[in-house]
């Protein structure tokens, strides 16, 4: 059960790229132990929000506080306790899996790195990939290796950008179950973006639906479905994408 203490606080984030406004005053929090889903159709501002939260892009205005500290003032201190995995990044393909993990373990100053790597490979059921070349892994294996990298430093906050994209339903289901288990066992806070509504329903305690750079809906998946009178999140998503659902009931 998530506590009320916010681990992450995004406050009135605005991001303008030239003539286009990607985010219009986005505010939300992630509580300790909570998994928050960030959804939206393409161009809604999810990726921009994620990049602002990771410090990859600077906001036009607004602040990001993580663990109570300003992201830009305490970036290194914060990043030591945060990690990230995305379907759109990969680890150097020409290194072995253990070599990649060893490098990131050193970057994150993981104590007893060899032990931690072995532990994660076992948890993620990829011990057999230890000496494999990273670039020769299947999509499912690669996702799990990326997750191993993201869990190396026992992060307090994990940002996952479409972790199940390009996975078959079986592997996606395994990844979701694994995340749920890790979240329960470690009290990890997670910010999760996905286009897969099943991910959101199964993994997230709460969700935010972005549309045009603003929050269109916020609540538990069930609350959002009820408020917009939709049978499923997928129907809700399609309704927004096709302009059939107006921005009502924003909270």
């Amino acid at each position: 059960m998530p506590s009320a203490t916010p681990i992450l606080e995004a406050d009135r984030l605005v991001k303008v790229f030239g003539d286009s406004t990607a985010l219009e005053g986005l505010s939300f929090t992630v509580a300790e132990g909570e998994t928050l889903g960030l959804l939206g159709v393409n161009g809604a501002g999810k990726t921009t929000a994620m990049n602002l939260l990771l410090g990859l892009t600077t906001p036009t205005s607004g602040t990001v506080r993580i663990f109570g500290m300003d992201l830009w003032k305490h970036r290194i201190k914060i990043l030591r306790q945060v990690n990230f995995s995305s379907a759109y990044t990969s680890l150097p393909s020409n290194l072995l899996v253990w070599q990649n993990l060893a490098v990131f373990a050193r970057l994150y100053r993981v104590p007893h790195p060899k032990q931690r790597i072995d532990e994660l490979l076992e948890v993620l059921d990829i011990t057999q990939l230890r000496n494999s070349v990273t670039g020769r892994l299947s999509a499912g294996e690669s996702t799990r290796v990326n997750l191993a990298k993201a869990l190396l430093n026992k992060p307090r906050l994990l940002l996952l950008d479409e972790p199940t994209a390009s996975l078959d339903p079986d592997i996606a289901d395994r990844v979701r179950k694994l995340l749920r288990r890790l979240q329960t066992e470690t009290g990890l806070s997670v910010l999760y973006t996905s286009h897969n509504m099943r991910d959101i329903e199964e993994v997230c305690d709460r969700m935010i639906f972005l549309h045009g750079g603003k929050v269109l809906a916020e609540g538990t998946p069930d609350e959002v479905k009820t408020r917009f009178n939709q049978a499923s999140l997928e129907d809700f998503f399609i309704g927004v994408a096709r302009g059939e659902i107006e921005a009502i009931g924003i909270q």
């Binding site: 410090g55 990859l56 970036r75 990043l79 990690n83 990969s90 150097p92 490098v103």
Partner: protein, 267 residues
């Protein structure tokens, strides 16, 4: 803690893994410099034979110039290619969201530059001595400040190349190789500054590598080590270092503001 050697060592470890896993990388480090050395070496022998004693033995300037130029080039490549490796493997975002300061990232690429220079320099020195009787040690005490200045200037050119690639993305990747050659005609690598047109000479003299190549010719001619020239090179490097750092930081700020950093990293 403003700077962490631990973080730098982690990033360097990655390149060591890369080079030790793929011996072909060493071939890339050695092959082109060796080809250059052979061409310049045989050209030197040919010119010496043609001159039949008329040419001064200082024609070995060509081999010396080629080897020292390679020091600068490999140092620049260490920075620029290390950055590109992260772009090509789509690993750049992983590094930029890790607890790595920009200065640590740049320092790691500079360390890779030193390693690349070290490997190339040893091989070229041995081959030049064995095949052409050219001994780099003839530069004596001056060798160390010569190498240090070229290494530094290579890093700064690498930072400028990296900043340009960050700013212009994939289309600018060829700059990783091209930037050093923009300055080569003015750097007095194979000929003295005095042969350049008068209006180009001040530009040539503003490059920290120019006094080094001039100094190399002075020492190889048997004259005393030109410490004044070396000091001048260090001062120019200070200015270039400050400009390169400013240029890199300004471009990094720009790409963070415009979102180009993510685009370059995920292209």
């Amino acid at each position: 803690m403003p700077f962490s050697f631990h973080t730098v060592s982690a990033l360097v470890l990655r390149y060591l893994f890369l080079y030790t896993r793929h011996p072909v990388r060493f071939v890339e480090l050695i092959f082109w410099p060796l080809v250059d050395l052979l061409v310049w070496g045989f050209l030197t022998i040919y010119l010496q034979k043609q001159a039949a004693g008329g040419f001064p033995t200082t024609i070995t300037f060509l081999i010396g110039g080629m080897i020292l130029w390679d020091v600068l080039f490999r140092s620049q490549q260490g920075v620029a290619i290390s950055f590109l490796e992260d772009v090509w493997t789509r690993n750049l975002l992983n590094v930029f969201v890790a607890p790595v300061r920009t200065v640590e990232y740049v320092a790691a690429t500079c360390m890779v530059g030193i390693l690349r220079v070290g490997v190339t320099l040893v091989v070229l020195s041995v081959v030049a001595a064995a095949a052409y009787g050219f001994n780099l040690a003839h530069l004596g005490l001056a060798l160390l400040p010569f190498l240090a200045n070229l290494l530094l200037f290579g890093w700064f050119l690498g930072m400028v190349s990296t900043a340009l690639i960050l700013r212009w993305g994939q289309a600018a990747e060829s700059l990783a190789w091209a930037v050093p050659f923009f300055i080569q005609p003015l750097a007095a690598v194979f000929y003295p500054v005095s042969v350049l047109p008068g209006w180009l000479q001040p530009i040539a003299n503003s490059l920290p590598c120019t006094p080094i190549f001039e100094g190399m010719r002075t020492v190889l001619s048997g004259r005393p080590i030109p410490w004044g020239i070396i000091q001048n090179a260090f001062l120019l490097n200070l200015v270039w270092g400050a400009l390169a750092a400013w240029f890199f930081a300004a471009n990094l700020r720009h790409v963070r503001k415009t979102g180009l950093l993510v685009k370059v990293a995920t292209q």
